[in-house]
C-alpha cells in the first residue's frame, strides 16, 4: 500500500510538472509574486511589524482582514458537500473533491496570513501552553488545523482510491465528510466569535456578526467555486454539469440576499438610535470627524453585492455564463471589501479612548498579501493539475482500461 501511495505521489507530481505553455506562464506569474512577497516578508522580519501600517490604535490590518475573508472561503467548500451528500445530489458528487481541494489551498493561505501577522513567529511552539477554552484564538488554531487535516485526508483518500482504480470505501470517508460539514460551519463561527466576543469593540460586539460571516462566506465561496469549475471545465476538460453550477448559483442567490439583509439590519440598528457605539458604523459609511478613507470602498462593495444578487436571481442574466462569471467576481470582491477591510478596520475606529486613526495597507503588506494569494492559487493549480486527470480516469496506478 505504501508503495502504491508513493507511486500516487510520484504520478501526481509528474502531472503537476507537465503542461502547456500557458500553464507554465501562469505558474511563473504566480511564482514571481511569491518571490516578491518573500522579499517583503524578510524585510518585515528584519525591522519588525513597523514595516506595516498597523499601529497601537489599529493593531490588526490587511493580514487579518484577508485571513478573516479566507476562512469563510474555506468554509464554503461545505456548500458543495451538503447538497452532494446530504441531499444526494449526483450532479455535485463529482465536483466535491475539486471544491475540497480549494478548501485545502485556501486554508494554507489562512494559516500563512496568521504566520506573517504575528510579531514573534519564532515562538510558534508556545502554543503548547494553549489558553483553551478561554481564548477564541486557541479555538481558531485548533479548528483550522483540524479542518485542514480533515479535507486533506478526505481528498487524498478519494483521489488515491480513484488512482488505484478502486471504489472508495464509504465507511472510510463518509463519516469524515459529515464531520467536515459541521466543522466547516464551526471554523467560520469561531472566527466570527473572535470578533463578536470583544466587548471593547462595539462595532463587532453584535449577535448578528456570526450569522453575517456565514452568509457572506457562503455567497463569496461558491462564487469562487463557480469560477474554478468554469476554468476546470474549459481548460482541463473535466465535464462539469450545468446542473452543478446552477445549484451553486441558487445557493449564492439566497445567501447574498441574506447577507445584504443582515448588513442593512446592522446599519439600521446602529444608526436609528444615534447612539455612541454607532461611531464606527458612521465612520465606515459616512466618515467621522473629517476622516473618510473607507467610505467610497464600502459603498462600492454594497453596489457590487447588490449587482451580484441581481445577476444571481435574474434568469435572463445568469443563464449567460459570462454574465454569471461577472456576477461571481462582483460577489467575491464585494464581500472581500465589506467583510475584510470593511469590517476589521472600522472596529478600531474610533479607538477605545475615542481617537480616530485611519489605516491603509503599506507596500510591504500589499506585497506579502499578494504573495499569499499567489501561493494559494499556485497550490490549487498544482492540486488540480494532479486531481483532474485522476478524476477523469486518465491517471492511474495501472494504466489499463477502467473496470
Amino acid at each position: 500500500m505504501v508503495l502504491e501511495f508513493l507511486r500516487f505521489l510520484r504520478a501526481s507530481g509528474g502531472a503537476m510538472m507537465r503542461g502547456s505553455r500557458n500553464y507554465y506562464l501562469w505558474l511563473l506569474f504566480l511564482v514571481a509574486w511569491i518571490a516578491l512577497g518573500v522579499l517583503a516578508y524578510l524585510h518585515q522580519l528584519n525591522v519588525g511589524l513597523v514595516a506595516t501600517n498597523m499601529v497601537d490604535q489599529v493593531p490588526w490590518g490587511a493580514y487579518i482582514a484577508n485571513f478573516t475573508y479566507l476562512v469563510g472561503m474555506a468554509a464554503a467548500a461545505v456548500m458543495l458537500v451538503i447538497p452532494a451528500y446530504v441531499y444526494d445530489d449526483h450532479a455535485l458528487h463529482e465536483v466535491v473533491v475539486l471544491g475540497e481541494l480549494m478548501a485545502v489551498a485556501v486554508l494554507v493561505m489562512c494559516l500563512s496570513f496568521v504566520m506573517v501577522d504575528i510579531g514573534r513567529p519564532d515562538r510558534f511552539w508556545h502554543f503548547v501552553r494553549f489558553n483553551w477554552p478561554a481564548s477564541m484564538l486557541s479555538w481558531d488554531v485548533i479548528v483550522l488545523n483540524g479542518y485542514l487535516l480533515l479535507n486533506f485526508y478526505i481528498t487524498t483518500y478519494l483521489l488515491f482510491s480513484k488512482f488505484r482504480g478502486k471504489k472508495p470505501d464509504r465507511k472510510k470517508y463518509v463519516p469524515f465528510v459529515f464531520l467536515a460539514i459541521g466543522w466547516a460551519v464551526s471554523i467560520h463561527t469561531v472566527t466570527a466569535f473572535l470578533y463578536s466576543g470583544m466587548g471593547a469593540r462595539p462595532h463587532w460586539n453584535a449577535a448578528i456578526l456570526a450569522p453575517r460571516f456565514l452568509a457572506s462566506a457562503f455567497a463569496a465561496g461558491p462564487s469562487m467555486v463557480i469560477i474554478a469549475l468554469t476554468v476546470i471545465r474549459d481548460r482541463m476538460g473535466f465535464p462539469v454539469k450545468d446542473k452543478a453550477i446552477d445549484r451553486l448559483r441558487q445557493i449564492v442567490a439566497v445567501t447574498m440576499m441574506i447577507n445584504l439583509f443582515f448588513f442593512f439590519s446592522e446599519i439600521f440598528t446602529e444608526l436609528y438610535s444615534f447612539k455612541e457605539h454607532a461611531a464606527s458604523m458612521r465612520y465606515l459609511l459616512f466618515g467621522l470627524k473629517g476622516h473618510h478613507l473607507l467610505v467610497p470602498y464600502i459603498w462600492a462593495a454594497v453596489t457590487l453585492d447588490v449587482f451580484a444578487a441581481i445577476v444571481f436571481v435574474t434568469p435572463r442574466l445568469h443563464k449567460n455564463h459570462n454574465v454569471l462569471l461577472v456576477g461571481c467576481a462582483a460577489a467575491i470582491v464585494g464581500v472581500w471589501v465589506e467583510k475584510g477591510m470593511g469590517l476589521v478596520i472600522p472596529g478600531f475606529v474610533p479607538s477605545p479612548l475615542g481617537e480616530v486613526v485611519e489605516y491603509a495597507p503599506s507596500f510591504t503588506e500589499f506585497c506579502v498579501s499578494a504573495a499569499i494569494w499567489a501561493l494559494g492559487a499556485l497550490l490549487y493549480t498544482l492540486l488540480l493539475k494532479a486531481a483532474v486527470p485522476i478524476e477523469l480516469g486518465k491517471l492511474r496506478l495501472n494504466p489499463e482500461p477502467a473496470e
Binding site: G119, R120, H126, F130, M136, L137, G199, P352, L353, G354
Partner: protein, 320 residues
C-alpha cells in the same frame, strides 16, 4: 516640546514652588530619573539598539514560561539578561522578581477634581519603566475632556503646550486598570499574560508571540506593542528592573503598565504617583482597612470606566 519652567534663584513663585516640591520628592525616592529639562539630550544621545536582534539565541528560543521557571532557572536567566544589557549598553542593571505579598490586593484611585493634566506621570513612568522615546511608547495616556461630559469619544490626548488646566476642561489619565475580569487575559492564546494574586496583570515578554489579540481586546487602550526594536539611551536606563515589569523588552512583544511591581511589591509607591504634582493619585492595599484607598472607596463616589463591560477594573476615578 513643552518643558517645565526652570526654577529661578530668587524667591520662588507658587508655580516654581510646586515644581521644586516635585523634584524634591523624586530625589527623595532615590530613583535615577532625570527630570525633563533634557531638550537637547534626547537628540544627542547615542541610541543603542534594543533587544531587537532578529534571531533569538537558543536559550531564548527554548526558555520556558515564567510560571514553569525554577528558582535556579530564574537566577541563571536574570544574570544572562543583566550581562547582555551590560555588554550592549555598558549599564549594570539588577533584575529582581519580587513575589506578590500575602494579603495584598492593589488598587489605584485617581482624583479628577485635582488632576491638572501636567503629564508628569506619563514621563516619570517612561523613565522608570525604560520606555523608548523613539519610537515613543507611553503607558499612560492623559485625556482632556470638556467639563460636563464623560464621553471618551469627545476627548483628546493631544492637548498642547498651553498652561494646564485649561478653562472648562478636566483631565483623565488612563493606564492599565489591572482588571479583575481582564479581557486581555482571556484573549491571549498562549497564556503569556495573566493576573497575579496581588491583582497585577503581567506579561511574560519572553513568551508573548505578538499576535496582538490582547491589544484588540483591551477596552482602555492600555496595552502597547513593540512594532520595532525599542531603544533606550544608556544614560536613561533605570537599572532597578523586574523580570515581569521593566526589564529590556523586544520587538514583536506586548507590554503595559504593571503598577511598577518591582517597586510596589517592595512597599514603594509607583513612579506615576510620586511624580504627580497635585496629589491626584492614590495607591494601596485594598485589603487593608486603614489604607487610603479603602478610605476613598468607602467615602468618595468612585466610578470606573466602561463599567458596562464588567471588566471590574482596579482603577477608580473620583471627584473630591
Amino acid at each position: 516640546m513643552a518643558r517645565s519652567d526652570p526654577p529661578t534663584p530668587s524667591v520662588p513663585t507658587p508655580g516654581e514652588r510646586v515644581e521644586k516640591l516635585v523634584e524634591t520628592r523624586l530625589e527623595e525616592s532615590g530613583s535615577r530619573r532625570t527630570f525633563l529639562k533634557l531638550a537637547g539630550l534626547a537628540a544627542a544621545t547615542t541610541a543603542v539598539s534594543g533587544c531587537g536582534t532578529s534571531a533569538p539565541t537558543s536559550e531564548e528560543f527554548f526558555r520556558q514560561h515564567y510560571k514553569k521557571l525554577t528558582p535556579e532557572d530564574k537566577e541563571r536567566i536574570f544574570r544572562l539578561i543583566e550581562d547582555e544589557t551590560l555588554a550592549r549598553t555598558g549599564v549594570a542593571t539588577h533584575i529582581s522578581d519580587p513575589p506578590p505579598i500575602d494579603g495584598v490586593e492593589f488598587a489605584y484611585a485617581l482624583n479628577l477634581s485635582v488632576c491638572n493634566g501636567s503629564r508628569r506621570c506619563v514621563e516619570a513612568c517612561a523613565r522608570e519603566n525604560n520606555l523608548p522615546d523613539d519610537p515613543e511608547m507611553r503607558y499612560i495616556r492623559v485625556l482632556e475632556i470638556d467639563a460636563g461630559t464623560l464621553d471618551l469619544d469627545e476627548s483628546t490626548p493631544n492637548y498642547g503646550t498651553d498652561k494646564v488646566p485649561a478653562k472648562d476642561k478636566f483631565y483623565l489619565p488612563v493606564q492599565c486598570h489591572q482588571c479583575d475580569h481582564p479581557p486581555c487575559v482571556r484573549a491571549c492564546p498562549v497564556g503569556a499574560t495573566w493576573k497575579e494574586p496581588d491583582g497585577i496583570v503581567v506579561v511574560d515578554y519572553s513568551w508573548c508571540i505578538g499576535c496582538r489579540f490582547c491589544v484588540v481586546a483591551c477596552p482602555y487602550f492600555a496595552r502597547r506593542f513593540n512594532w520595532q526594536a525599542p531603544t533606550v539611551a544608556p544614560e536613561r536606563i533605570n537599572p532597578n528592573q523586574g523580570y515581569l515589569s521593566n526589564r529590556p523588552r523586544f520587538k514583536g512583544v506586548v507590554e503595559k503598565c504593571t503598577f511598577c511591581l518591582h517597586r510596589t511589591r517592595k512597599g514603594r509607591m509607583p513612579a506615576c504617583l510620586e511624580a504627580c504634582p497635585t496629589g491626584a493619585r492614590k495607591f494601596g492595599n485594598l485589603n487593608d482597612p486603614n489604607s487610603e484607598i479603602r478610605h476613598i472607596i468607602s467615602t468618595k463616589r468612585v466610578y470606573v470606566l466602561k463599567e458596562e463591560l464588567a471588566t471590574l477594573p482596579r482603577f477608580y476615578y473620583f471627584f473630591s
